[in-house]
Amino acid sequence: MERRAVIARRWIVLMLGVVLALGAAAGPGTATPAFKGDIPLGVLYTKDGVWGSYGVRAFRAIDIAVQDVNAAGGINGYRLAPKIYDNHGELAEVASLVRKMALEDRVVAMVGPNSSGEAEVAFPVAAATGVPVLATSTAKGGIMKLGFRDGKQWAFRNVAPDDQNTAPVIAQVVKDRHITTVAIVYDTKDAVSKYMGGIFWTGLMKKLNVTVVDVATFASGDPSVAAQVTKIKADKPDAVILAAAPGEAAKVAIEIQRQEMKTQLLGSGALYGDEFLKAGGSAVDHTITAAQYWRENPNPAVQAVLKRYEARTGAPAALHEAYAYDAIMLLTDIMKRAGVTSDSSKLQAYRDAVRADLVNAKWTGMSGTFTLVPNGDVIRPFLRATIDRGRWDIQVLKVQ
């Protein structure tokens, strides 16, 4: 019996030693501020599916933003506690996760989701449960009304819709390049691409007096788009408009190059970013798109945030990182001003206050300066982006 007690004591001493050693190894640098409580914030993205790369970047930015907020003392002395979910590209999971965040996690606000298709599910649920949601990568036009309920706008986004952002840029390109005929190739499986290819681009071309000689479709994941390209090649359009996620659009560009078709490639802001360059290589050279994120933005405030962020990641900040980071910072600022605490009895009052402040909120952050408008949309600068030898070349058309 005594022997067992001795062994037990030795174990206790050993465990204490391990705990103390770990504590010493952690050092004073890792000490975190003492918080009065947690303020839950919902985060919903996905790392899967055709837009999965956006989610990977957004998750990384959210993680860094939350660390930055809490290292600076949190929100009025309360820790920002994100409730992070991945819906794995499944639309069916979006509704239940939004409901879970609203009713079980009792979040003050939400950030996400990844794609417009997911937003079409998430926005009505968020509005019905009375939680403000700020989306960062959902660019389909006309979806913000889904987040409107009982006279209040609950859904917002800090990414400019593709249609609003693209029209002025492409109108200028059509004029400069004397484009009179185009072919449109779009992905029918993706909500925003389907809207852009099926409705927006045809409408815009009609407005610009440009003849659409061919409209070809495909579904993301199709192994080959050779048939579509052979068909549009026969029509000899001055330009080919690509409405798809960057990787899928690059697949079409590669096939165009393979079939030695000489044409100007055009696209919306959805193509702007490293994914299109990496996936398309030389096949996407000279492509012209609209853009809204400008890493070389000369605003010192923007550059300060960018440099700090990029020092942490060791890589250039992509659009979806910048937008997700800014979403957290904007919501943090609003929650601070609204006096949000961890008092759950005031949860709905806090949600209402955050929602009200999101209307007309103006912010300058990593992604530049943007202003949210009452219908949930955002005003951002109009940029024209051209790929020149594997790099995006930005021309500013209109600054906010």
């Binding site: 999965g52 479709t217 192994p223 080959s224 052979t230």
Partner: protein, 290 residues
């Protein structure tokens, strides 16, 4: 344009046929549908990408690396979905391959990201005009290799001891064992050859279409299964004929109809075949047992 579209269809069909050959081999020998066959192909392509990024190596080395990577995945599938699975449950093997497929796909997405990645050409060269058809070197190679692999597979199955063993195994496992066939070794050989073929298919497929994602295997697996069903389950030539037929049918549907009907037409053909000729185009109908 019609000739070019038919060529496009034959190219696409060649990739389906090449993929279906490996799938059919395992099905023919073991009566096991390997849903993870597409993931062997996917891993092979990423192995090529990683090797290309790490070192300047020749096309032949890349092809060998792809075959080795796919063979490794195929052998892992053998262990987890066949060797270590209780064979009393007839569905256990096939269901395990679904699990392996999902696991490998998820692992691939985490390791390499979900972005569409560009696969640089292994074979470069200008496009060649063959009458009304324009083709690149990689495309012509795909057609040539499909034919070559078909011939090699035919020779393996009909002219070698290993092939005879595989066929005996497909006929009756117990009888094959009694006739002195090393069944376990034969099964391992079947998975190995199927994996090597998936590797070859991966290299050729991406050389022709130049892009890859971790999800490439799923779509191919579905098309491969449709091809072997239409062609006749376990029939090598049936898989090739059906693969080419599906490729041409899909391409013509897109070119002269709508891409939205691409899959619908193929599955409609599958339903018709199952109704009219359930044993498949080149399959053999066995008399029902009394």
């Amino acid at each position: 344009m019609l000739a070019q579209q038919i060529f496009n269809g034959l190219l696409l069909g060649s990739t389906y046929a090449l993929f279906a050959l490996g799938l059919n081999l395992v099905l023919g020998a073991l009566n096991l549908l390997n849903f993870a066959h597409g993931e062997a192909l996917m891993v092979a392509v990423y192995a090529v990408l990683m090797l290309q990024a790490a070192a300047h190596v020749s096309g032949a080395v890349l092809v060998l690396a792809a075959m080795a990577a796919a063979a490794a995945v195929s052998m892992a599938t053998y262990l987890f979905a066949f060797r270590w699975v209780n064979k009393e449950y007839w569905m256990a093997g096939a269901l395990s391959t679904i699990g392996i497929s999902i696991f490998t796909q998820t692992l691939g997405a985490r390791l390499w990201g979900t972005d569409q990645r560009q696969v640089p050409d292994i074979i470069r060269g200008p496009a060649v005009s063959l009458g009304p058809v324009t083709a690149t070197g990689a495309q012509l190679l795909l057609v040539a290799v499909t034919v070559l692999l078909m011939v090699l597979l035919h020779l393996l199955l009909t002219r070698t001891r290993v092939g005879r063993g595989m066929r005996a195994l497909a006929e009756n496992r117990t009888t094959a064992m009694l006739m002195g066939v090393n069944v376990e070794r034969m099964i391992q050989g079947t998975f190995l050859v199927a994996g090597i073929m998936a590797g070859a298919a991966g290299v050729l497929l991406t050389s022709v279409y130049n892009t890859v994602t971790p999800f490439v295997g799923l779509n191919l697996s579905v098309k491969g299964i449709v091809a072997i069903t239409i062609g006749g389950m376990g029939n090598t030539y049936g898989a090739i004929v059906a693969g080419l037929l599906i490729g041409v049918l899909e391409t013509l549907t897109v070119a002269y109809g709508s891409a939205s009907y691409r899959d619908a037409i193929v599955f409609a053909l599958l339903v018709v075949i199952l109704m009219v000729r359930p044993q498949g185009l080149l399959g053999v109908r066995f008399p029902e047992r009394a």
